[in-house]
Amino acid sequence: MTGKSLNPSLNAEELHKPVQLILKDGTVFSGQSFGYRQSLSGEIVFNTAMSGYPESLTDPSYKGQILVLTYPLIGNYGVPPMLKENGLMRYFESEVIHIKALVISEYSAESSHWNSWKTLSRWLIENKIPAISGIDTRALTVHLREQGVMPGKLIFDNIDTEFVESDKINMVEKVSTKKVISYGKGKYKIVLVDCGVKSNIIRRLIHRDTTVIRVPWDYNYSDMDYDALFISNGPGDPEILTPAIENLSKALEGDKPVFGICLGNQLLALAAGGKTYKLPYGHRSHNQPVRMQKTNRCFITSQNHGYATDAGSLGKEWEEFFVNLNDNTNEGIRHKKKPFFSTQFHPEASSGPTDTDFLFDDFIEMIKKSKK
């Protein structure tokens, strides 16, 4: 009866069958499906961004996670077309949806935008991604904030499933490229270690006269001929990514510029002998304030991470580059002498604010200098 106006792609009976969201600590929420119907489990995390669901859903860093969006109206502008440009999806951050499931307050069944090709619901169903609406996402977020992120499961049609502890799984392996791919035909050759790279990182690099050679996360690039190294973002616990850390340690013995983002920041810290730890509920939003150390320069950044670098664990040759103004956690490190730096936030944005795009320029400048 209310089905027609709320969700035209499903019949009324299906719509009114409630879906349960059960947290590991026993808390239960109930909502309606607007995606694929399949019981599953994953770590539940929340993101407070107010725009950018097509980008977030295809961000490989969300691999294995059930994503809660705190912004209550989702689906408003539909889903853009699956066009390719320079070997990348033009409007998405990867080829596929990476989140395990989506949890929101209200789904906007009718979307409106000149560039919308399908509804969010259809896209999710086509990609077999469960999604529920009608959840008090604010209550859920407060709960996660107070209790920390935890596994949860979605139960459709009373078909139960086990809680999955995603920390134990190497998610990077699942999202990293299996083969070496090259993008762009620029002057500077950058090896990009793909731990689950967002497409916009590649776009921002090839936009600046570079050739990006994307290699698998555990690829040994030490014998390759390149000008600089880039370590990408990606999902999960950095400490389990031993081959990546070892390769990077070797690269740090040299002098070629290194730039890391998000997981790349943590891997750089680990390769430099530092430590990482898990945050109680992570940073996932478009409004994280960071300050460039020793300056009054502050930036609003886009973030998506559950782990952080322990700044105190860094060696003497390293220093903090950026610090989070909300909770003083590390937001980037740099080498005091060599051209190595990384950020915990996402200068490539997409989705989110573009304030720190200049870091890509800084990276190119480093390459130019090191080539001289």
Partner: protein, 1078 residues
Amino acid sequence: MSINKKINKVLVIGSGALKIGEAGEFDYSGSQALKALKEEGITTVLINPNIATVQTSEGIADTIYFLPVTPFFVEKVIKKEKPHGILLAFGGQTALNCGVSLHRSGVLKKYNVKVLGTQVESIMNTEDRELFVQKLNEIGVKSISSTAVTTMKDAKKAAEKLGYPVIIRAGYALGGQGSGFCNNPEELESLAAKAFAHTPQILVEKSLKGWKEIEYEVVRDKYNNCITVCNMENFDPLGIHTGESIVIAPSQTLTNNEYHKLREIAIGIVRHIGIVGECNVQYALDPKSEDYRVIEVNARLSRSSALASKATGYPLAFVAAKLALGYGLHELKNAVTQTTPAFFEPALDYVVVKIPRWDLGKFRGVSKEIGSSMKSVGEVMAIGRNFEEALQKGLRMIGQGMHGFVENRELESDVREEIENLLSNPTDMRIFVISMALRHNFTIDEIHDLTKIDRWFLYKLKNITDIHFMLSPYSRIEDIPKSLLSESKKAGFSDFQIGRVLCKNSGEELTGYSLKVREYRKKTGVLPVVKQIDTLAAEFPAQTNYLYLTYHGTKNDPIRKEGKKSVIVLGSGAYRIGSSVEFDWCSVNAVETIRKSGMRSVMINYNPETVSTDYDVCDALYFDELTYERVMDIVEMESPMGVIVSVGGQIPNNLAMRLHNGGVNILGTTPQSIDQAEDRYKFSSMLDSQGIDQPRWKELTTARDIHKFTEEVGYPVLVRPSYVLSGAAMNVVSNADELDHFLELAANVSKQYPVVVSEFIENAKEIEFDAVARNGELMVYAISEHVEFAGVHSGDATIVFPPQKLYLETIRRVKRISKKIAKELNISGPFNIQFLARDNEIKVIECNLRASRSFPFVSKVLKCNLIEIATKVMLGQEVEKPSESLFELDYVGVKAPQFSFSRLQKADPVLGVEMGSTGEVGCLGDDYYEAILNAMLSVGHRIPEKNILLSTGPPRSKIEMLISTRKLHERGYKLFGTRGTQKFLKDNGIPCTLLHWPDEDKNPNTLEYLKNKKIDLVINIPKNLSSGELYNDYHIRRAAIDFNIPLITNARLASAFIYAICRLKPDDLAIKSWQEYK
């Protein structure tokens, strides 16, 4: 000690009276700025004649000048006070223009006053269109191609070149004054002429009608750190002024790319221009691509920034003031979390909808169409977790008898063409026309084609009408499935709306039925939850109680109570004609008094342009509806000791009895007494029983009875329909013809819609009695008199306190009667009585058992806070009766109305029994003339230089004005008159040049003189108070407004003004602060 050691004293410029385009939002921003300065230990000086504001209250600024915000007076204050710094960005366009002028004339430099925050050069770069476009071009940002012109010829040439349709705008004007669309050269000519009257430069632009309109609020500190606090999307596309549009925050139809592209550009602009503080960037965005244009940039706090502050919980004005002093954003704290910094961008987990409030029905002759210039007088902000919920809340908040998007006393038209026409030519009823179209099966595409409103909004609106149709088959609440009931509540349906669908038109008592809905809902567990606005979407805990209610939730947010007893104060809702910032002042003072008493103060209000909706003025702020349903929801959550209904004007007052019946403890005067004062019959018989006189009146239901009664009491009579629906507003009727005309308009006079006719006493003085009583005993009072005779609405009257021209006997009688009434109604709290007096004969016109419009004025003149006393009385606390000597004042206060006729095209700028002013000022002086001159200069009058046009109406006012006119002549003014006036003056030996009436094809002509600005002041007294205004008088008055020439339409006020200008030169006016009047 201030962060900037050289700045220890700062002058803040206020915005003066509330007017269309410049309302209470600047009380909010100025108050916040003053708070921020105070926190730094800086001595503050404020110049603002708006006496009803919170910012002009004790303890906000150190020194307050109730003087006109003009370069002349500000310079004098600077000279006297010698401030180190000045803030220009917190008093709207008025303060900004004044500051630019002081900069240009070298005054700021001369007195070594540093402009804090955004510098004047930067301001000029945003205000001067040519400079602005040039600035944007420098950084490759696109603006709307426009041409700045200074002559009519160039305007036409520019329009030809751009191609019609074009839009024209006046430079240095806010609220789109003098702007509009022109489809052809004729329209251009008429509009441009008016615009040139206000400004030397106008802009001719290509029209981008139909593009999306998006705004960003940007903040920048001196370290070049930038944030955007909020973005907003207009429901109505370009073509309708943002002040006339429904606005939603955050944007709903923008992709991440669009959102952040515009954000990035906004930051780029703000950095390039060099803003330090707050700034607003407006865009047009192509609905079919990512193409955009920058419309304008406001380098100051604005209406939008007030809205953004309330929408996000980010205290923009407070932060902007701190940045102006030299702080960095990262050095300030987020006021909500108190742990994270002010350098961040709020994440919303709700939506807010702003809806404008119009009062076009109050004006004669004004067009109801809405467009590129602003006509709305106020706005509301509604918060919900979806668009439907927020919108329906908002439509109720607007307070024009609507219950939401549907279930109203509907607009009805079955003619498709008519609906189409209404859709493409929007009026103040636009949203309800869309409702009607949806119920008449217009498709989304059809509505979109006619309105260009984004389909997303229309889909959401259709959800509401869909639910209406789903509810329609039911007639018993018990039969509605719980899922549908819950769905309806989530879409913002009130219990009343649901009740109305269920009842159909069965005539069942609706109020009773909505109570049934409520009961059933509670039984079945369909209940709202309370949520916090915390700036970070729950990522960090909030330390404040900034709250709203929603049906999209299963769990209440924790509300911090700290074990105190709650007292709820009901606020005053949207600014509208008749209820303005004065009630906000009352509400804020009540809340403060509660707080000081150690109790938990709880505020309910929804007007984003106020101080009362700052979450730091009270212990808990519910930014929500002032309806029975919502107040009861909140009462059930708060379990308060009581509710105060007497400080927020008529809205809370009207709720008193229902809340009482719902078991709520109403503090102060009992609801039964309130009812006794509100109910015409009960009040009247009480007066009779006490032997108190009142004008004779009768409630009548047939034309015959009306005529009969009128013959009995004699003309003129005051007639008022009980429902102002038909366009037949309250009016004074002087003869049988007029009465017939009125009855024709009020075609539906019937048992259900009776008309009240009362005797109208001519040449009577009107007296206001504002007071506080405890258990029926008078505690403190203030008697003030109107300058104008009765017949001018008390909100439009010029009021003098203490009274200067009342007989002592009159005062004694007024006091005696008031004491009787206070005793009889056993008043405990604030109240106001209006009297008529002629030859010591006193009649009571009205009595309100609540604070009145003049409470802040008399409180500040008396220097005795009547609301504080009233609140203490209502809380049952001990209050000492102020000593009688309090009432001996050695100075005079004058309150003068501010009109906004220049924004209301075609409206007849004449005073009558319906209120038309949008704001007011209150000024002080050592005598009556000084006070009245200060007040009149504050509301836009100027001391005429040379030429005065007189058209003094009926013989009585001609005679009344004879002495004052002679004074003008003696002072060397050159007088011009229309035929009768000129002859009358000549006969009395006063030289006067004849100007012909507008409809005469003869020169010299009045209109020609006005158009060419050869006249410095127009005094035009209407022949009578009826609606049958002559063509000529109307055209003279209207031309005065359109060509920005001061106009006075009341003989007594004109005389008072003339006396004042003949006695005092501007330099004679003392520059005395409020504190210096002792």
